[in-house]
Symmetry: C2
Subunit: 195 residues, 2 copies
DNA sequence: TTGGACATGTAAGCCGTTACATGATTAC
DNA sequence: GTAATCATGTAACGGCTTACATGTCCAA
């Protein structure tokens, strides 16, 4: 029973997974089931953050065992929902994480990789794929507009509003930049092949 | 010795790793050692693609065993370099991959995740972190200018030039967009806290 | 009655970083 | 002489997607 049994673990977390923080953050907003969390992610932060059930459910178990959340079974009829609430300890951990500067991201953009090597590609397919990609981005822009609506439908006086707006603004700018770049790039490359 | 021994494997590749294509693409440009490949990635496509030695060396072995590249030992003195060349079979696989539309990316932006939950954050730290991030981005913009120089120092008549330029143009636009967004967001949030 | 949404979970297996191991050469 | 760069590799481990498994409720 020496001091090595004390949880010095909490100071030395080397885990890189941020799933727990995404969950804790959502639970500050409202109590949720795992299923709700997935839905919330999809229609609010889905354009810059994704989680699968395979991550969410086990993480919820872990968070409960650590006392960061409290889980209550909610029954109506035969149907069971596990509703999770953040605890003071969980909120503390979230706040501590929010203070840390974000870690550098590993970025992998397959479209750019293909374009970089496009001298080996078939010109017709290249341009067709870029146009397809442009269509995708235009559709995504529409999805953003839906998220915008969904975020603005939250109650007035929502103290999150300014942060949700700036976050979404980032996404809007990013997608618009991509659309402009694609339109110009398709033109430029098309012109290049005509000569 | 039935037909099941034939390499139908090549049609059913389920692997998601694109390391092999990055390597094959680079080897169309020039023959390289694994070390060279890492360097090339760092100072040309590093802003949208990263690979570690732990991926590169084993993938080179695999590619050689599949006949997609040929490896020759180059000795001077005690020093040994393994120089890899792409084979016709390797080039064929690269071309086939280039035809496929890029797969949807999983995007995870920790900065945006933190901003989204920033109502739980300490305002001072939040703004300090955003400013730090802005400094990072300004530095990255400078790195892009170095890559620009490095890419333009390739021999004239480089048929890759147009693709390298458009790729870099994407990066430049992206980073400029981020810088503008950060400057405005820092202002906006700062103003918000004063009231 | 059938499909879709709600709801929770597990397990396999790939992917990729990181740390480790080793050694030569070059520049200061 | 010593630090940085060149050079090649392996192994552990964690992270995450995907597929699978199971069952309810509701609407068309």
């Amino acid at each position: 029973m020496g001091p090595e049994l004390k949880s010095y673990k909490s100071n030395t977390r080397k885990s890189k997974s941020k799933t727990r923080y995404a969950i804790l953050g959502i639970l500050t907003h409202r109590e949720c089931s795992g299923y709700d969390i997935k839905k919330f992610i999809e229609n609010s932060i889905g354009f810059f953050w994704q989680e699968s059930f395979g991550q969410i459910y086990p993480t919820l178990k872990t968070l409960e065992s650590e006392g960061k959340i409290e889980t209550v079974e909610e029954n109506n009829g035969d149907k069971t929902r596990l509703v999770h609430k953040i605890t003071p300890s969980g909120r503390k951990e979230l706040k501590a994480w929010l203070k840390l500067p974000p870690e550098p991201e590993v970025i992998r953009n397959e479209m750019l990789l293909k374009l970089f090597f496009a001298n080996e590609a078939d010109p017709g397919t290249l341009i067709a794929n870029l146009k397809k990609e442009l269509e995708n981005k235009l559709q995504i822009l529409n999805q953003y507009k839906e998220i915008q609506t969904s975020l603005q439908n939250s109650p007035k006086e929502n103290p999150n509003q300014i942060f949700w707006n700036t976050t979404l603004d980032y996404g809007m700018r990013a997608i618009k930049m991509e659309i402009e770049w694609m339109q110009e790039t398709i033109q430029l490359i098309g012109k290049n092949y005509q000569n």
